[in-house]
Amino acid sequence: MKQFKLYIGIAVIGAGILTGCSKSFLELTPRGTELEANFYRNEDELAQGLVAVYDVMGWGTSGGYTMKMPLLTAASDEAYAGGSDASDQPNWVAYDNFTLDPQRGPQVGLWQKNYSGVYKANLLLEKLEGSTSISETFRMRAESEAKFLRAYFYFDLVRFFGKIPLILGPISSDQLYSFPQSEPQDIYAQIEKDLNEARPGLPATVPVNENGRITRGAATALLGKVIIFQNNDGRMLEAAQLLQEVNSGGVYQLLTNFGDIFRPDNKFNAESILEIQHSNLAAWGDWGWINGGEGNVGVQFIGAADYNGNVYSNGWGFCPITLDLVEAMKDDPRFEFTIVDGKKMKAEGATYNARYQNTDYFIRKYAPQKAYRSTVGTSEINWPYNEIEIRLADTYLLEAEALVRGGGDAGRAKSLLDAVRGRVGLGSVAPSLDNIYNERRLELATEGHRFFDLVRTGKAAAVLADQGFTSGKNEVLPIPQVEIDVTNKTLIQNPNY
């Protein structure tokens, strides 16, 4: 019996140890990962949060391949979809031919990317607001950058989709599945608000080691562009005023040599205003999440397939240039820096294979060049080619357009247009809207501007008619069907989809 009591005692003590410890036994902290609630404590951590917002700018592959530059080039009259066959990137083919439907097209990737960016920007703004341990200097700049980025993402969203949910902070649980869509003008108003709030806190220039961070010029240029995109002639002079600040502010200059603008070794040159960083520094190898790396996979897409020669690197044959654009540019001094002539390439001894919709003309500005092919990571997804979203020639032409449409200084409009032309040795032309738009087409060809320019100027229906563009429908993409499904149809599909 004594022994028995001893056993009971042991058992009781054992039970006591276990239950006594059990609370702490069950409270584990994850290793190797931080909790959201504990993070964003100081400038260092907030800065890392900010980098995550920037990161989204470089995405092109959430929900399929939806890199903006080649995709918009294919959607416009500049290029076809291409690839190995029509089933290679059916979403591109659908955009190219306007056979888009709620399930087919690039909408998932573009929607997801930009809303991921919006979420991260919102979160950072919230954390910045709640932080008491940071300097005002830090707060101001980080807030400005986050607001710029939020505006940037919304500008893409409103252009791609039109009526969209305008989310500016945490979503309450009752709105999680039923967030209302806002009218485009309200989205634009918010974009302008963000950009206006961002501008004062941004530096005019950044030191070399901060290249890629947003400058005031970028915010001002984007704001001017955003106003022009709203097509209100009554506000054109306002836009021109802003763009003049960029164009004549002394920060940016047109490069003397047009061919230098897109040289991968000439990043952040004097003409570049908003530039998205890409590099092979991540030496990325994960095809399943290309966004995790920093490379520009769009470059891989547009190269000639199975290319064998000295200049370029083999690509996948996407975005063959239309003969329309070739025709339009054939006598233009910018041709050789804009379009790769496959026949000429072959004459020089190179070989490549024709792919779907081959025209023997390829994009030059972002063409994969042997010299820059990554030797680290998986080469295809590590191309170190920055994307230039806004450059000075663009803002020159935008200002010229705004001046003409707003009835502003015609002389300045002419000199802006002539400056762009003069740089490549072309003579002066009258600053008519047609001439300005034509100049945009040639100067900015395959840079991803053309499709949106056609839409905003109302020319899309005419120019893209033979591609299948339907007016009143294809100005925007369909909202992804999965999104409509998950919101139980509270999201209203865009007209005619």
């Binding site: 009971i8 036994f25 993070f39 599945y177 397939a305």
Partner: protein, 1029 residues
């Protein structure tokens, strides 16, 4: 305590006193033992026939009774019936009682204890070693297939070592947490059960209802499989060898077009799309390549051996075994193999009368390599059926070899240096499967030690204190090497890479239980209380080096020096804990009225701060009608009704999902520096808790026909609430949704198990049948949605299944069709009320879709439920027959009421090969009303829509095993010192009856019910030998 004992003693004396007084004759004395194992039977009733005198045996089986000369003693013992013996006064006897041949006396493991089946009030099914011996099954869960009512098991593929999908009473969760909890000798096993050698198993007990599984609380929701390994018995040393070896092959191949047929159809498809004839002379192409012949191995060897030694004394027993299994796959044998070595040592030691010490320890080494088994992204079989038959296996034509792509430097060659054929017709993942296998180099390995040690103390009669420490220590990893290669334009590797992962996990459990059993009068009660603490933790690390000086995996090493940029290293760790208290009371009155109640409290580190502890109660009761006086035993010798109700949990979710964690790696470049960016991984949910499974069960156990027939019937209703799932949030939220307790699901079903056995002279015969019906229904998915996306296909992500409220999990979803348009008029006549054609893009030979919502056009809204991959009925039977030295085992298993969606052709690659069914396609008015025309430009989405034309009846019945054995006569083998020699011949998966025309209707795993070209179950012919001495 002392007082109580005294009371008992006096009670006994007062009962015995009258007999002592009547002692006139000399007593009959004796000992009663179990005929089968010699154990003494305590508590057997001994009565003099026709008299009033009666006694019971003591703990050692001894009794003494006054009996007149010529008396006949009636000896009865629960489960042994009543037997009569003639006795003479003053003599001593040894009586042996034969157990009734009924399963009701089997001992069932109930979790922290055992019970006779007759006393069980919950739904538990058992499989014994004798049912499994010599069965060619290599994974433990497969051995339950077709043997246990209510357990549905579907192999994920026929690849060696492939896991099965196991559902106990239907899918109990929309999560991965539908797989049952495996408990081996009391240790919960995580991470797969393939390590266990089936020959080491003594019993498997499947806890099916909530009341039986309640003792496992938050982890019992999907049912529990308790596995007990073999132990030694007191007596002589037993040495047993069992081994078998044989060959396997596919039981079916899919007929696909040969080169001539392919070219003909391709031309037709090209012309239909407005293109040109591509192959001007199809006949010249002949038969072309039979890619399936290249991929299938019709002589895939396998072998399995086990040697076991067991013995023991009164004090100690042990069981030790060694096993070796080596199986090659029937598909791509070079890349599909499974090798396993197992060793086990179980022992028990009685240190004193009151103290027992023991252990169960198993070690397993596995080395395996595998191929993709059921997907569209380039598995060997998917390639074999989709690859054009025109491309040769190896290209020898010099004209072709001098051109691209054969001039690419890194094309893959066979051992003779011939380049493997590269298709110029089919693209993407569909490439030469032989070449594809050549560059896929790698394997996985694991070492696992799972065991426990325990100390049991029985300080007083009926009380057992037990402390067990168990551990599951595993090391596993894999390596893969990708050489520099060019397979086709989209599949090339310019720099080689070698990757190695290593993982280590230690899960431990410490359990302390106390149980006390007490019988007083007709009352019998057992109380169990216990506490457990468990920790599951591990770590992983791996690395890759690219551009190493190696051309194959044998040369590859992470030690090769490469530049910093060409090496990657990663790692991580995981941890979760569980702390629990539990108690169980089992009570029986007069063996008639049975009652049991369980309560468990589980605390889990995986749950949110608002819900750390969960309580899981259950009650069950039984009524043994056959023990009642009014019962006529001629109707049934045993009849029990039982009912149970209980709650379980399911905590199968990732740790730390209740908080929002942040991760780095969301990087961006500033200047020329890569800067780390950090953002949250998902939204937080502090209320996160277990899923609750509530189940009601009503059952009946009966033994009829002179104990020849046993029947068990169960009816259940199982409701899962608070189902955990990643809450799908709109993409505009900008991040992944949290895990939430939202959804509910219901399973209702009925189960029947029937056993019949009869011995007629030397002929022994038994049949066991089981069948079950289950209906699964998702009842709620949250306020925001009425379905969850299920399985999708191909780059377009075509939805094939959906989990829709009011329907079973994973229901097939798509368009209903109504034949084919035969003429252009058919197309124009299929119009809506405005007179517009409903399918303006359709052409003759295209599918006519049903405008289900009647809106006058065909859109995503017209999709409906098309079928169900979950069977309504699952059934199985085993027939055992033996005559003298010969024995036959026939085991069959099947399902009914399910469909399979066949998606074996990559429709998105229009030049993929067709099955020969395409020969019966529509190719002119009236040629077919079910198989659409072929075209490279499928505007009508005949194949890129999910529709009912892809569905087939998935019912099957399989002769899973037929085994014929012969045991050499004892008198012969005894002479050479053996006590058992049996040779046997086994056919596995010999015949499958099914209407399904794919490789195999049995499609489990991640692509449940959708056939993307599944790696089929092998048919095996095996020869085996048992030797014992």
């Amino acid at each position: 305590m002392k007082k109580k004992r005294a009371l008992l003693v006096s009670l006994f004396l007062s009962l015995a006193f009258p007999f002592l007084l009547l002692a006139q004759d000399k007593p009959v004395t004796g000992k009663i033992t179990n005929k089968v194992n010699g154990d003494p039977l305590a508590g057997a009733t001994v009565t003099v026939k026709g008299g009033a005198v009666s006694t019971t045996t003591d703990a050692t089986g001894n009794f003494s009774i006054q009996a007149p000369p010529g008396a006949i003693l009636l000896i009865s013992y629960t489960g042994f019936g009543t037997q009569e013996f003639a006795v003479a006064p003053g003599s001593a006897y040894n009586f042996t009682l034969n157990e009734l041949s009924t399963s009701m006396n089997e001992v069932i493991v109930v979790g922290y204890g055992t019970q006779k089946k007759r006393a069980v009030t919950t739904a538990i099914s058992s499989v014994k070693a004798s049912d499994l011996e010599n069965m060619p099954v290599f994974r433990v869960e497969q051995s339950l297939q077709g043997r246990v009512a209510g357990v549905s098991i579907t192999a994920s593929s026929g690849q060696p070592g492939a896991a099965s999908t196991i559902y106990i009473r239907g899918i109990s969760s929309v999560n991965g947490g539908s797989q049952p909890l495996y408990v081996v000798d009391g240790v919960v096993v995580d991470g797969g059960i393939e390590y266990l050698n089936q020959a080491d198993i003594e019993t498997m007990d499947v806890l099916k209802d909530a009341a039986s599984a309640a003792i496992y609380g938050a982890r019992g929701g999907a049912g529990v499989v308790l596995i007990t390994t073999k132990r030694g018995r007191a007596g002589r040393i037993n040495v047993n060898y069992t081994g078998y070896a044989g060959v396997q092959k596919a039981w079916r191949k899919i007929p696909v077009l040969n080169a001539e047929q392919y070219a003909t159809l391709y031309n037709e498809a090209s012309v239909a799309a407005g293109g040109n004839i591509r192959f001007p002379d199809p006949a010249a192409l002949g038969k072309g390549t039979d890619w399936q012949a290249q991929v299938f191995n019709d002589n895939a060897p396998m072998q399995n051996h086990e040697l076991s030694i067991s013995a023991g004394s009164d004090k100690s027993t042990y069981f030790t075994s060694f096993g070796f299994l080596n199986q090659e796959g029937i598909v791509a044998s070079s890349n599909s193999k499974f090798k396993r070595f197992t060793a086990r040592f179980n022992s028990n030691h009685k240190i004193t009368k009151a103290i027992t010490f023991g252990n169960n320890i198993g070690y397993t080494y596995i080395n395996s390599t595998g191929v993709g088994t059921n997907d569209e992204w380039g598995t060997p079989l998917n390639r074999a059926i989709n690859m054009d038959p025109i491309t040769p296996v190896i290209e020898t034509d010099p004209a072709k070899l001098s051109q691209s792509p054969y001039t690419m430097p890194d094309i893959v060659r066979d051992e003779n240096g011939n380049p493997y054929g590269i298709s110029s017709i089919v693209t993407s993942e569909i490439l030469n499967p032989v070449a594809g296998l050549k560059v896929a180099q790698g394997n996985g390995w694991s070492h696992k030690i799972l065991g426990n040690i325990y100390l049991e103390i029985a300080p007083i009669e009926g009380l057992k204190l037990r402390s067990t420490i168990g551990g599951d220590l595993a090391f596993w990893g894999d390596q893969s090497f990708s050489p520099v290669f060019y397979l086709n334009a989209t599949n090339q590797n310019l720099i080689n890479d070698y990757t190695r992962n290593s993982n280590r996990a230690l899960n431990w459990v410490w359990e302390n239980t106390a149980s006390y059993n007490r019988t007083f009068g007709k009352h019998d009660a057992t109380l169990l209380i216990g506490i457990t603490a468990q920790r599951f933790a591990g770590e992983t690390q791996g690395g890759t080096r690219t551009g190493i000086p190696a051309t194959n995996i044998r040369e590859a090493s992470l030690a090769f020096p490469v530049s910093q940029a060409n090496q990657y290293f990663w790692g991580g760790e995981w941890e979760s804990t569980l702390s629990s208290l539990f108690g169980r009371l089992q009570y029986a009155y007069d063996n008639k009225y049975l009652f049991s109640a369980v309560m468990r409290r589980d605390g889990s580190s995986k749950f949110g701060s608002n819900n750390i502890y969960g309580y899981f109660p259950s009650v069950s009761a039984g009524w043994v009608i056959s023990e009642e006086n009014f019962w006529n035993p001629k109707v049934a010798s045993f009849l029990k009704l039982r009912a149970s109700y209980g709650e379980n949990g399911n905590n199968n979710l990732e740790a730390f999902r209740f908080v929002s964690t942040v991760s780095g790696g969301r990087n961006y470049v500033f200047g020329d520096q890569l800067i780390n960016g950090v953002s949250p991984n998902a939204i937080a949910n502090p209320d996160l808790k277990w899923e609750t499974v509530v189940q009601t069960n009503i059952g009946l156990d009966a033994v009829l026909l002179n104990n020849h027939l046993s029947v068990t019937v169960d009816v259940y209703n199982k409701k899962t609430t608070d189902m955990l799932q990643n809450v799908r949030v709109p993409m505009y939220v900008g991040n992944n949704g949290p895990v939430g307790n939202v959804a509910t699901m219901e399973n209702r079903g009925i189960e029947l198990a029937v056993g019949y056995n009869q011995n007629i002279g030397d002929f022994k015969f038994s049949v066991n049948l089981n069948g079950s019906y289950n209906k699964n229904e998702i009842t709620y998915l949250g306020p925001d949605k009425d379905y969850l996306q299920g399985l999708v296909y191909g780059p377009q992500g075509v939805e094939y299944t959906r989990h829709i409220v009011g329907n079973p999990y994973g229901a097939f979803f798509g368009y209903k069709t109504n034949g084919l348009f035969q003429t252009p008029e058919d197309v124009t006549n299929y119009k809506n009320k405005n007179g517009d054609p409903i399918q303006p893009l359709a052409k003759p030979g295209d599918l006519r879709y049903v405008d289900y919502n009647g809106d006058g056009l065909i859109s995503a809204e017209d999709r409906v439920i098309l079928g169900n991959p979950n069977p309504d009925f699952t059934y199985g039977f085993t027939v055992n027959a033996a005559y003298k030295g010969f024995d036959v085992i026939l085991f069959g298993q099947g399902i009914a009421g399910s469909q399979v969606l066949q998606a074996i052709r990559r429709f998105d690659l229009p030049s993929a090969n067709w099955s020969t069914k395409a020969l019966d396609r529509w190719h002119g008015e009236g040629t077919s009303n079910s198989i659409p025309r072929v075209t490279l430009d499928d505007q009508n989405k005949n194949w890129s829509n999910s529709s009912d034309i892809m569905l087939q009846d998935g019912d099957y019945f399989r002769i899973k095993t037929l085994q014929i054995g012969y045991s050499l006569p004892q008198h012969i083998i005894n002479r050479i010192g053996l006590n058992k020699v049996r040779v046997f011949f086994t056919g596995n998966n010999l015949i499958t009856f099914t209407k399904y025309d794919g490789f195999d209707p049995e499609i489990g795993g991640g692509s449940f019910g959708v056939d993307r070209g599944i790696y089929p179950q092998p048919r095996a012919l095996l020869f085996g030998l048992n030797v014992g001495f």
